[in-house]
Amino acid sequence: MMNDKTTILVVDDNEDLLETFAMILKRRGYEVQTACDGVDAVDKFKEQNFDVTLMDIVMPEMNGVDAFKKIREIQPEASIILMTAYSDEELMQTAKEEGVQLIIQKPIRIDKLIEMINETAGNQPILIADDNTILQTLQSRQMVRK
């Protein structure tokens, strides 16, 4: 069973979100670690690899896209799910250029998240976002998940 083995790093500067995501994922049988920002996440990757990373996109110190790039330097095949409650088209564009291919809206449904984690482990990075304009654009390009 993949759930028994999958290691997940959750990265968010919102403590409550970090804690509740971690609790849920642990309950679902994953091995979970947490990081409070991009710098912390990159440091964690220097110590060990993770099967999936669930990371906020807008954070102080280092944003999710920059952290994504740094993590990919350390672990080129890293599967990273980026999520945000904010819309920053420039950042989204950079994310796409860096290899992020799918988008899903936040606040995210847990079952959908679990499904994506299982699909994503070892596969494509996903951008979880909440901007309707970007969503519509990407939906039309069949790059989006809700």
Partner: protein, 254 residues
């Protein structure tokens, strides 16, 4: 000849009137476009701010379902506590908006300054890496102000100071000094500071340099201070820190 001149005058007047109408319509369009842009910016900021607590709420509901199905009372209580906190988070966003848009008359009472500062400090968690120095000169001076509004102002300034030192730590100083008519409350940090080009904008609504936030905190603070007959000023140097000074009128009987 006079008839011709008169006809020309009518024609010129008519053109002028038409131009004025067109100008007024154009101005109205511009104002409407500006309003719509401002509403769009605000709606975007608010919706994004609300989505974080909404996501926590969704997570809590999930955890609560598990706790109920497993008859895990402690787990359920924990999830409910976090849910309750998210209501406060979301409510603060809505309150900020309302406070900014509606003019609320200050409910002024006679207030002791140290109590205001103490109350404000209870609302902010000061990390261990931040060294707090409170130095209240003339602590017996009394203010005539709205204590709730001023607590809000100081809480905002203290929280901003802490955030400016996020990660690195530093010194947070709160000093007060009084003259005959006013007391100055000076809140200083040794944080990241504010770039010169942003100094003039930081009290404007919807302006923010933080990765998260609507950008109403300092705009509300300025409005509340002014509503209470005071002034707020800032000086700052990048990488050295910022100093916010609030000057409030003293209660003259003190």
């Amino acid at each position: 000849m006079s008839t011709k001149n008169s006809k020309n005058d009518v024609s010129v007047n008519s053109i002028l009137q038409q131009n004025q109408v067109e100008l007024a319509q154009m101005q109205e369009k511009l104002i409407r476009a500006e309003r719509l842009a401002a509403i769009g910016e605000l709606a975007s900021g608010v919706s994004h701010e609300l989505r974080n607590p909404l996501n926590v709420i969704r997570n809590c509901v999930y955890l609560l379902n598990i706790a109920i199905s497993e008859k895990d009372e402690a787990g359920a209580v924990e999830a409910l506590k976090t849910l309750d906190k998210q209501v406060d988070v979301a409510n603060k966003i809505v309150t900020d908006l309302l406070d900014f848009t509606r003019i609320k008359q200050p409910m002024q009472t006679i207030v002791e300054l140290p109590k205001l500062i103490d109350e404000s400090l209870t609302w902010v968690t000061i990390p261990e890496r931040v060294k707090l120095n409170v130095n209240l000169n003339d602590p017996m001076k009394l203010l005539k102000t709205d204590p709730e509004q001023m607590t809000r102002v100081f809480t905002n300034l203290i929280a901003n100071a802490v955030q400016a030192m996020n990660g690195k730590g530093g010194d947070l100083s709160i000093n007060t000094n009084a003259d005959e008519n006013y007391v100055s409350i000076v809140i200083s940090d040794t944080g990241c500071g504010i770039p010169e080009e942003n100094i003039a904008k930081i009290f404007e609504p919807l302006f923010t340099t933080k990765p998260k936030g609507i950008g109403l905190g300092l705009a509300i603070a300025k409005r509340l201070v002014e509503e209470n007959g005071g002034k707020i000023e800032v000086t700052s140097q990048v990488d050295k820190g910022s100093t916010f000074t609030v000057r409030l009128p003293l209660e003259q009987r003190s």
